[in-house]
């Protein structure tokens, strides 16, 4: 299996990357290559120009700023996963990333590339949506904008990045004190893409839930926020019973087309269970450890 010929570009600045992307309408960004190169090898994608951003200076940051953890476009999944900052400040990111692919793939794959690829069975889009991640998008003319996760995921394999533009990083809000994070996934084998998965984060003060965030991947062409479940928890007690009641409110349109390996009826059936388990593990993190 050989990719079709393309023109290879390796810019070292964002401005040069934009120039290279402007060479042709068929130009595409190459990050870790762990989703794109399989498509090239299978000739499911035949871009005319590949713009390798791996040597663009300053894109590999993992840093806390203004109450958010910023992850640059070339920060590898393996590095993000082993970062103490990520594990302690945005624990939901680490919990979900541990379920993405294998160490050999995470050594190259990037968090941003994973989110830009937006496979509907991918874990991280649910986390991005649940946490209200912000994407730093640069338009072809170089103008920057910040796109909230709720507007970023448009459709399976489609995100809100203009043609010829690129994402320079993504940021997640630091978890407030008293926060527990839980991720629960059903997959056919360990570290495979999700059939369905839920990301949950609970913040509790004096036994009362002050903030609940829940989103699910694998239902349709975009991750879905479980607003009714969130509302039912917020302001109430942080108990297993409240979590069970909230999980029963998990709703969303389940499309057959997004996952041929798992019927829509199955995913509808397990949706509340998956939400309940993600919330339960978030709750368990809040329990004082003996």
């Amino acid at each position: 299996m050989k990719p079709a010929a393309f023109e290879y570009r390796r810019p070292t600045t964002i401005a040069a990357a934009l120039d290279d992307l402007a060479l042709d309408a068929g130009a595409r960004v190459l990050a870790g290559g762990q989703s794109l190169v399989p498509l090239l090898n299978l000739r499911l994608a035949t871009p005319s120009v590949l713009v390798d951003i791996n040597r663009v200076a300053g894109l590999d940051e993992i840093a806390e700023r203004d109450g958010r953890v910023h992850i640059g476009a070339t920060a590898r999944q393996a590095v993000v996963l082993s970062s103490d900052l990520v594990r302690t400040r945005v624990p939901l990111v680490a919990a979900a990333l541990a379920r993405v692919a294998h160490p050999q793939v995470r050594a190259r794959g990037t968090v941003v590339g994973n989110l830009c690829h937006h496979d509907p069975a991918s874990e991280m889009p649910a986390v991005a949506l649940a946490l209200d991640a912000e994407f730093a998008v640069v338009a072809p003319d170089g103008s920057p904008s910040s796109v909230p996760a709720a507007d970023f995921f448009l459709d399976s394999f489609a995100v809100a990045v203009p043609a010829g533009g690129l994402v320079t990083g993504v940021s997640f809000p630091v978890a407030p004190p008293g926060t527990g994070a839980g991720f629960y996934e059903i997959a056919r084998k360990a570290k495979d893409f999700a059939l369905i998965a839920a990301a949950a984060q609970l913040t509790v003060a004096a036994g009362t839930v002050t903030e609940a965030r829940v989103a699910v991947t694998g239902l349709g062409h975009r991750p879905l926020r479980m607003t009714a479940a969130e509302q039912s928890l917020t302001g109430g007690p942080s108990t297993a019973e409240a979590v069970r009641d909230a999980a029963r409110l998990a709703r969303g349109e389940v499309l057959a087309a997004v996952n041929t390996r798992s019927p829509a009826a199955y995913r509808s059936r397990v949706l509340p269970v998956v939400v309940c388990r993600a919330l339960t593990s978030a709750l368990a993190q809040l329990e004082p450890t003996p």
Binding site: P3, N41, Q104, A107
Partner: protein
């Protein structure tokens, strides 16, 4: 009259392969796996699925195990590559290789070079990994002979763990 197809643009790369400097000019689309096998004759790197699923083509890039079918040779400019031919510079079996032999951690042997590279990278970073870390690493490889139990035993031996893990 038909015009000749355009000649591919060749891009210079300088890298180190198994400790030796290599300078080459490659087309952008040349995969690292094909560069190693076809340009350098290092056929110990096996290509199984060709799209990242099986792990047979795993090599070390700057000490990290990666799939050589998902990288272009041109991207490795300035990097140090180690293939299965290079894990044991002195011609002796490394503890990982010895463990595969002792535990018969192979059947047809197709997936073995990739596994040896992955475990070599793991143990260089983490000489005493947990069972979970070992399994996480092995998960990145397919063995179509399904010889997984002996591969797991070999990995445990190389990691200095009991080869037969107690159940429960």
């Amino acid at each position: 009259m038909t015009s000749a197809p355009p000649r591919p643009t060749l891009i210079p790369v300088s890298l180190t392969v198994n400790g030796l400097p290599v300078d080459a000019a490659v087309p952008g689309r040349l995969l690292l796996a094909d560069f190693l096998r076809d340009s350098l004759g290092l056929t110990g790197t096996h290509v199984g699925c060709g799209h990242g699923t099986c792990g047979s083509c795993t090599v070390l890039v700057d000490g990290e195990a990666v799939r050589s079918c998902l990288q272009f040779a041109v991207q490795l400019d300035g990097c140090a590559i180690t293939t299965v031919e290079g894990v044991s510079p002195d011609g002796q079996l490394t503890p990982v290789q010895q463990a595969f032999q002792d535990n018969h951690g192979m059947q047809c042997g197709y997936c073995t070079p990739g596994l040896v590279c992955s475990l070599t990278a793991l143990l260089a970073k983490d000489p005493s990994p947990t069972e979970e870390t070992i399994v996480d690493t092995l998960n990145g490889h397919l063995c179509r002979c399904t010889g997984y139990q002996n591969i797991l035993k070999a990995a445990r031996q190389a990691a200095g763990r009991p080869v037969e893990e107690a159940h429960g």
